[in-house]
Amino acid sequence: MSAALRVTLLLVLIGCVYLFLAQPYWFPAGASAQSSLFDHQFWIALWVLGGMFVAGHLVLAFVLSKKPRAAAIASRGSWQLEVTWTLAIVAIFFWFNISGERLWSSMMLHQQQAGEIQIEVTGAQFQWYFRYPGPDGVFGRTDAQKFAKADEGNPLGLDPSDPAGRDDVVTTAMIVPVGHLVQMRLRAQDVVHSLYIPAMRFKQDTVPGMAILSHFTPTKTGVYEIACAELCGIGHYRMRAVVRVVSEEEFARWLKAQVKNTSE
């Protein structure tokens, strides 16, 4: 029984290690400034924690492999050992913890940059809306309860009496220029949703009643999927959108055309 248990633990170990080395499914290629930092940090995690996983199972298989003895080793513990492994684990875990905090700062703490793109993101059952402030750089007032009519082209409830809202552009796909900081203000119209863009290594809940500021900087042109990551009701699984990262010129062209459409 001892041998069978040992062999099984080793098989489990080999299977798990194989899974993480073969990587049949893995991160999508990163497309934002934070993605390479994130991937680097994840690799550290994988090596440190993966190493402890392998070591832990080898030791477990070893202690289970001892031949039957006439009498067990009489030991009630050892404070030297307790202190040693406690300090070792504190050192490893807190080194790892602190090494991740710089990344968190760069992801979460507010940043500013010349040429940043302002976008307001709104989650609603089961659709994402993206709003650009237009040439005036100011978002118009909204009141979803009073004015929102999704089928009449005003899903966010832009207040018609506010001139700042006349040039606002509302879309169902996020279009951003490559290399620019995308400054987002995230909102929700009904329940909690979560804007999840795996290629950008980005996720942020959108919470009704809150306007959450968050940002990322796309570094590669292309089309990337957005999924909803917070259970929001029966259509949660299909609350999909895309981010189209385009060149600066293309973005300017697109925005101009949109503004023209809106103001007509």
Partner: protein
């Protein structure tokens, strides 16, 4: 052969109502909790099977249910989580085994507040029935997940299960909170007041330490949940706005609430919810520490360190709830604090793991089924635990949050590890609970299938999460990159089917052994703790008029150099152990 005592004859002659309903015998109540959890785990496992089948064969028609629609799927996942977390993981390790064995291991013949303990069980049963009733109401059971985030859970217009189904959910879990509080009060009082003479704190088995600390966690955590549930209920029906902000538009209709905060619920819920994780795992850790010592025939390595780690986990458990909310919109500076505190709580968990391995080291290990499941627990605890420090880093967590990576993490560390401890406790204490032995051969077969099945089911889920697969998706076709992961989902479903089917072996073994298993001796595993000084099954009167006198620590194994009787009962005369520092 022991003569039945007058008390137990009286017990046998009592009517059904007296024996099973108005009964205050903690051993009967413990068994009742055991069967309540068994019923809950069967329903919960059935629901997970339905979900797994629906994910990979979405058009499959289930007998009597037909095709599973998104609202059915969400109801199933909510009820699966609720049943498993509350009625299985928080019930059987604590209220089941704890109610039965805490007094016996302390040398007491009854629980403090026996009527309260009994009332706790009946409240839990009503709570279970109310929860199950939600399947049969218009709109079906609640569909906002076991975490019930408002506004989704606060507004009946937000989804099909958010009407009566959610009301029943709230009532049911409110009752469950009351039941847990009633039970926990008895645990704390019993531990503090009913210990036999000589049963000092440092002579308590680690199981008792775990039950004691868990009861304190229950008292603090479930009272918060009860308040939060009442607030949510009032938001739904009494016109308050604790959790619902103003200006909402749901299904094209304006919502008449204003001034609430959706994040407030998340803080209250997780202030309960994270200690809840430890409510589920601490008794499992206690059982594992206990059994590794028994089956390695060695004292627990670092008993005091184990007690200290249990207390540290209990205390730190109340300071880490924010790690469930890194992506919630909470202030990023709070992320730093919760991240460090979460890393801190990994330390006592690691200390425990080191001590388990050191307890096994050099032991004269008896590879019986309870030991196998305990070794499985350690393996799963290492595997599931090591993704903890990773998820404790907010920068890494936000990407993995609400993906299958987290599903894999908590199923391994909380669900599977606890389940393995529940199985080992069942195989171990079955003789004391039912007077018979379980079948070893079936037990081992059950272990191999469950261990390999648990890994095959939950390990690949990490990869789904890494590839960005969000959880709680009723369908894989809504997002393109998610639908590309269907082949791995199919593999997981097959593994889940095999694993769940393997549990039939356990059920057969359990019920067959209850009637036909070979009769058990008083102390079949050669254990030193006080419950094994009683005949099997433990008689109704417990220790009767006799009060055990405790002279020794709980883990005096393998110290005498003898093979035949290598342990000292806790109540053996003091002169028995001259070479052990047990005095």
């Amino acid at each position: 052969m022991q003569m039945p005592s007058p008390n137990s004859i009286l017990h046998e002659q009592a009517g059904f109502l007296r024996r099973h309903v108005f009964n205050t015998d903690h051993k009967v109540i413990g068994r009742q909790y055991f069967f309540l959890s068994l019923a809950a785990v069967l329903v919960g496992a059935w629901l997970s099977l339905l979900m797994r089948i629906h994910l990979v064969w979405p058009k499959a028609a289930i007998p009597f249910l037909g095709e599973i629609k998104p609202e059915n799927y969400l109801a199933q996942l909510t009820m699966h989580g609720t049943l498993m977390v509350f009625f299985v993981l928080s019930t059987v390790p604590q209220a089941g085994f704890g109610t039965f064995f805490l007094p016996l291991q302390l040398g007491a013949s009854k629980m403090a507040f026996p009527r309260l303990t009994a009332a706790g069980f009946w409240t839990a049963l009503v709570s279970f029935l109310v929860l199950i009733a939600a399947f049969f109401v218009p709109g079906g059971a609640a569909g906002a997940g076991w975490t019930q985030y408002p506004p989704l859970s606060a507004l009946a217009s937000a989804g099909p299960g958010e009407g009566l189904g959610t009301d029943l959910w709230l009532v049911s879990i409110g009752l469950f909170c009351l039941a847990s509080l009633m039970s926990a009060v008895g645990f704390v009082a019993t531990t503090v007041r009913y210990r036999a003479p000589g049963m000092t704190w440092m002579r308590m088995p680690l199981t008792c330490w775990a039950w004691f600390v868990t009861s304190i966690l229950i008292l603090l955590a479930f009272s918060i949940l009860l308040v939060a549930l009442a607030m949510l209920m009032m938001d739904r029906h009494a016109g308050t706005s604790f959790f619902v902000p103003g200006g909402l538009l749901v299904s094209g209709k304006a919502v008449e609430h204003s001034g609430g905060s959706a994040l407030l619920w998340q803080h209250l819920f997780w202030f309960f919810g994270h200690p809840e994780v430890y409510i589920a795992i601490l008794p499992a850790m206690g059982v594992t520490s206990h059994l590794l010592s028994v089956f390695a025939r060695k004292p627990v390595f670092g008993y005091k360190a184990m007690v200290g780690a249990t207390l540290a986990i209990g205390a730190l458990g109340f300071m880490v709830w924010g790690h469930h909310m890194f992506a919630s919109g909470m202030n990023p500076y709070a992320g730093f604090a919760f991240s460090s505190l979460t890393t801190a709580i990994a330390v006592p968990s690691a200390i425990k793991t080191f001590n388990w391995v050191a307890t096994l080291y050099g032991g004269r290990i008896c590879y019986a089924t309870p030991l196998l499941f305990s070794a499985g627990f350690v393996s799963l605890f290492i595997t599931g635990g090591l993704t903890g420090p990773l998820l404790a880093q907010p920068a890494l967590d936000v990407y993995l949050h609400d993906t299958y990576f987290v599903v894999a993490h908590f199923h391994l560390i909380m669900a599977m590890a606890s389940l393995f401890a529940i199985f080992s406790a069942t195989y171990f204490w079955f003789p004391k609970m039912f007077g018979r032995m379980m079948n070893e051969r079936l037990g081992r077969l059950h272990f191999w299938i469950t261990l390999l099945g648990a890994y095959a089911t939950f390990m690949p889920m990490h990869l789904l999460g890494i590839a960005g697969h969000p959880r709680r998706y009723s369908d894989l076709t809504g997002v393109q990159y998610v639908s590309a992961m269907a082949p791995l989902q199919r593999f997981i479903t097959l593994a889940a089917i095999v694993t769940i089917a393997g549990q039939v072996i356990f059920l057969v073994n359990l019920f067959w052994s209850m009637r036909r298993g070979p009769g058990a001796d008083a102390n079949p595993w050669q254990c030193s703790t006080l419950e094994w000084t009683l005949p099997s099954p433990a008689p109704a009167e417990g220790f009767g008029g006799r009060q055990p006198l405790v002279h020794h620590g709980p883990y005096e194994y393998g110290l005498l150099g003898a093979v035949e009787k290598d342990f000292v009962m806790q109540d053996a005369p003091a002169t028995w152990s001259d070479n052990g520092p047990s005095e």
